[in-house]
């Protein structure tokens, strides 16, 4: 199985550290990229047009939150004619957020934190 490139967009440094460790443990992903918020990520993607296979996106972030990022990202995907599979990974358990996530076609699934090995393996298998 071909190894996937994964990207984490989250403002929580501890979460990012933990998730990176878990990703290494699965040995299913070839590369991991991380950003502190949506703004940083979109600037990078626009500049490089280098989209990862899988995106793990948080909602609550300073400067540009997950929703705002999705608006920009969906446009970018169309423009550069590339696609990524987006997973929302949020600590929120509010139903509104889950419903809102379904409105975005580019969002594959809404995942509640914590993200564990099983979930990461499933993601890898699905793609």
């Amino acid at each position: 199985m071909l190894q996937k490139r994964i990207c984490i967009i989250d403002d929580d440094p501890i979460y990012k550290l933990i998730t990176k460790k878990l990703i290494q443990k699965t040995k299913l992903y070839s590369e991991t990229i991380e950003f502190n918020n949506g703004n940083e990520a979109i600037i990078y993607f626009e500049a490089t047009s280098d989209l990862p296979d899988i995106l793990l996106l948080d909602i609550e972030m300073p400067e540009m939150d997950g929703w705002e990022f999705l608006d920009e990202f969906c446009k970018l995907e169309k423009r550069i004619n590339k696609e990524s599979t987006v997973y929302i990974a949020s600590s929120s358990i509010a139903i509104e957020d889950k419903l809102k996530a379904k409105e975005y076609k580019c969002v594959k699934e809404f995942l509640s934190k914590p993200i564990n090995l099983d979930k990461l393996q499933k993601i890898a298998e699905q793609n």
Binding site: I14, N36, E63, A94, K113, P114, L117
Partner: protein, 793 residues
């Protein structure tokens, strides 16, 4: 009297028949003229007769005179004969005779009927020896003379010697024996001359002489103009000496002819008079006809009036205007007041008029008498004979002309008792309705769709709003004026819209009562079609101030609860999110530690776990701080000197201010106070000022400007910086949310503005933000001047 009447009748008979009268005039006049003419004619005729007779007498006398002279001449001649029968001195005697008698032309002696002697012989020679007894022409006359033994004239006859003449023969007897004749010859011309008829010749008469022809035995005429005379007026006289008849004949054939033109004139005159009479009579006759026609009309109208008077459905009474006594009244009037005709005629109108109405009636009557009015009408009361009061409507018209003295008037009386009774009943029921309306616990009103203002409002207005119905009615825009200024525009707009659509409506608004208090009313308006074009609005204004107050209180409580609930929800959401973020990290770390077989890695993970638990603690503290605001809904409020707190905050931030070279411009006066909680005020000021420093612009020195002013019920604190600014379009909604940060500034916690906002909200203030990226941000804090009062709502 009867004669006079007959004469009058006769005159009117004539007057009425102008043609007949004219004819009569003509006949009378013409008859009169005819009679006059007749008598005149008679007189004329008589006169003529007399004249003719006298002329004839004169002529006859002349003839007789003449004949006597002739006779004398013959005798004289005869005497010249001697006894022997021989004439003696015939010549001499004859000559004498002739000369003495102008009217004898010749004399003859005719012995034995033979002419022997003639004087003068000259011219008469042919007669000599003419035997007259044997002449058929003379024989008879000769014999007659012999027989009568007197002179007898023959002729006029054609003489033997020629010419027409008469011969007078006197038979001479000698010794009883016929001797012969002594004769005179008178020429006819001479004879006529001797009669003197020439002198009587005139235009009027002419003469004629006739004798019976002895041979033909017919009457023979000798004078000129021998036309028949039988039809003419004539007189005749017989002269026996010659058997002559002398006629005098009137030349006028008929007097009628003389009169004819006059008769014609008289006829025409009569005709003219008749015509004039006709014409003259015609005019009066026409006038008479007109008079007759008018009289007929008058009689008719009099009859009409009489029948109206007697049978009218209204009471009619003829009254003396001076003393008010009744002159005449019809049956209806009698029936109306219960008196008989006879009783009424002894009464006057003052006796039956109600004393309360009498003054007005008398005043009107005075005006009528003075000529100020010619008619008036009024409603008044009469006393019926039975003592009951009856209502009547009386119309009085004067019966005198303008320039006449007041005398009588006519009054028309209508019984209006029934109407008055219904009016009274209507008024009574109206009063009942009014009382009922006034007893309703709401202001009942009615208005017109076309004009502003109301037409009716019930008395309850005085009780509820303090305004009298009169105040309402007097001003068309009264309603608008007393609506609460804040509600006025929408209420008018709403009402106008519904009125236009003709839909009933129901709305609640505030009004300002007369005492200045605010009254909440519910106005329920219905549309009422009085007729096709007239639409009226009827409404009732109910005082709902009390229930409205409850409603407002309830709404306020609901709002508060909803707000708190919302905040609570938000809070719990945030709490769960933030706590879950940490707990999920802890969960992940623990599972990693369990999985790890490397001691070094485990230690590394434990450090991380410690760090997470610290962050969790921090979060718990923050949440505790927020909860304390949320739960303390009635914090202590004091009057705080704003400047004192600002200075205190600046002192707290002294190190940062110096480090960042912050310039603070404070224009807040020393005496400005705000009603706020001291701890909250410290927190609010600290948050704003520290934020202003934290989000300073990297290119310039921070500058913070503080000022204050009042607006409505608020004391406003304005804090203006020249920092990086906030994109309000993007982040405006989230600005005051919990854990919302918009920068990567590591000091951003996402909690300061959340708490500040909560503290200000709790004390009924508000925050406004103005910001431009790279220019700066201004926070305006509205401190409510009376936070406590409003806190109850």
């Amino acid at each position: 009297m009867s004669i006079e009447k007959k004469i009058a009748a006769l005159i009117s008979w004539f007057l009425s028949r102008p043609k007949t009268s004219g004819l009569i005039v003509f006949i009378c006049l013409f008859s009169f003229f005819s009679i006059i003419f007749f008598f005149k004619y008679q007189a004329l005729k008589q006169n003529e007769q007399h004249e003719m007779e006298s002329i004839l007498a004169v002529v006859k006398k002349n003839i007789e005179q003449n004949l006597k002279s002739n006779y004398a001449a013959t005798i004289t001649l005869a005497l010249s004969i001697d006894d022997n029968g021989n004439p003696k001195d015939f010549e001499q005697v004859a000559k004498q005779i002739i000369s003495s008698n102008n009217y004898i032309d010749a004399v003859q002696l005719v012995p034995n009927g033979v002419i022997k002697y003639t004087y003068p012989l000259k011219g008469n020679e042919s007669a000599t020896n003419f035997d007259i007894l044997h002449s058929p022409l003379h024989r008879q006359a000769a014999l007659r003379a012999i027989k009568t033994k007197s002179i007898y004239f023959s002729g006029p006859v054609e003489l033997k010697q020629g010419g027409l003449g008469v011969v007078g023969r006197l038979p001479i007897f000698k010794k009883g024996e016929f001797w012969g004749f002594s004769a005179v010859i008178v020429k006819f011309k001479t004879l006529i001359k001797s009669t003197g008829i020439e002198s009587f010749k005139s235009n009027k008469y002419y003469f004629q002489l006739s004798k019976i022809n002895p041979i033909t035995n017919t009457e023979e005429f000798f004078l000129e103009n021998k036309s028949p005379i039988s039809h003419k007026t004539f007189k005749k006289v017989e002269i026996p000496e010659g058997d002559w008849v002398l006629y005098i004949i009137s030349k006028e054939q008929n007097y009628l002819l003389v009169f004819f033109p006059v008769i014609i004139i008289a006829f025409l005159l009569s005709l003219l008079c008749g015509f004039f009479a006709t014409t003259l009579l015609k005019k009066p006759s026409e006038l008479q006809q007109l008079v007759n026609l008018q009289t007929k009309k008058i009689i008719q109208s009099e009859f009409l009036f009489k029948s109206i008077f007697e049978h009218a459905g209204l009471g009619i009474v003829h009254t003396n205007s001076i003393d008010g006594t009744f002159i005449d009244a019809n049956d209806k009037f009698c029936e109306l007041i219960g008196y008989s005709q006879e009783e009424i005629k002894k009464m006057n109108f003052m006796m039956i008029t109600h004393p309360e109405d009498l003054d007005e009636d008398l005043m009107n009557m005075q005006k009528l008498r003075s000529g100020e009015i010619s008619q008036y009408s009024m409603e008044k009361r009469y006393f019926h004979k039975n003592g009951k009061t009856i209502w009547i409507n009386i119309t009085i018209s004067s019966l005198w002309e303008k320039d006449e003295r007041p005398n009588n008037h006519i009054a028309i009386i209508e019984d209006i008792s029934g109407r008055k009774e219904s009016e009274r009943q209507i008024l009574e029921s109206q009063q009942k309705i009014k009382d009922l309306v006034d007893s309703i616990d709401g202001i009942v009103w009615e208005g017109n769709s076309k004009e502003p203002g109301i037409t009716y409002i019930s008395k309850k207005s005085e009780e509820i709003l303090g305004y009298t119905p009169e105040e309402w009615i007097a001003d068309d825009y009264f309603w608008r004026k007393i609506i609460h200024p804040e509600d006025r525009d929408w209420v008018i707009e709403h009402s106008t819209k519904h009125a236009h659509e003709k839909k009933p409506f129901d709305h609640e608004y505030r009004m300002i009562a007369k005492n200045g208090s605010i009254v909440w009313v519910r106005d329920i308006v219905s549309i009422y079609h009085e007729s096709e074009n007239i639409i009226k609005f009827r409404g009732i204004l109910i005082d709902i101030t009390k229930s409205k107050q409850f409603e407002i209180d309830l709404n306020n409580s609901l709002k508060l609860v909803t707000e708190q609930n919302k905040r609570l929800l938000n809070f719990s959401h945030i709490v769960s999110h933030n706590l879950r973020a940490h707990t999920s990290n802890i969960q992940s770390l623990i599972s990693l530690i369990e999985m790890s077989e490397d001691q070094e890695e485990q230690n590394e993970l434990l450090v991380l776990l410690k760090s997470v638990s610290e962050t969790l603690n921090q979060t718990m503290n923050n949440l505790n701080e927020v909860v304390s605001i949320q739960t303390d809904i009635n914090p202590i409020i004091e009057k705080l000197n704003l400047n004192k707190y600002v200075n205190k905050t600046i002192e707290v931030l002294r190190n940062q201010i110096i480090k960042n070279e912050v310039v603070i411009i404070n224009t807040i006066p020393n005496d400005v106070t705000v009603s706020f909680n001291p701890a909250y005020l410290e927190s609010v000021l600290l948050n704003f000022i520290s934020n202003a420093i934290r989000y300073k612009h990297p290119d310039r020195k921070p500058e913070i400007e503080l000022k204050t002013y009042t607006e409505d019920n608020y004391q406003i604190l304005e804090i203006k910086d020249n920092g990086i600014g906030i994109d309000l379009k993007k982040n405006g909604k989230k600005l005051f949310g919990l854990y919302k940060t918009f920068t990567n500034n590591p000091e951003s916690r996402g909690i300061g503005l959340f708490i500040t906002k909560n503290q200000i909200d709790t004390l009924k203030g508000k925050i406004e933000v103005e910001s431009k990226i790279n220019i700066g941000t201004t926070f305006k804090t509205y401190f409510n001047n009376a936070p406590k009062e409003n806190l109850h709502h």
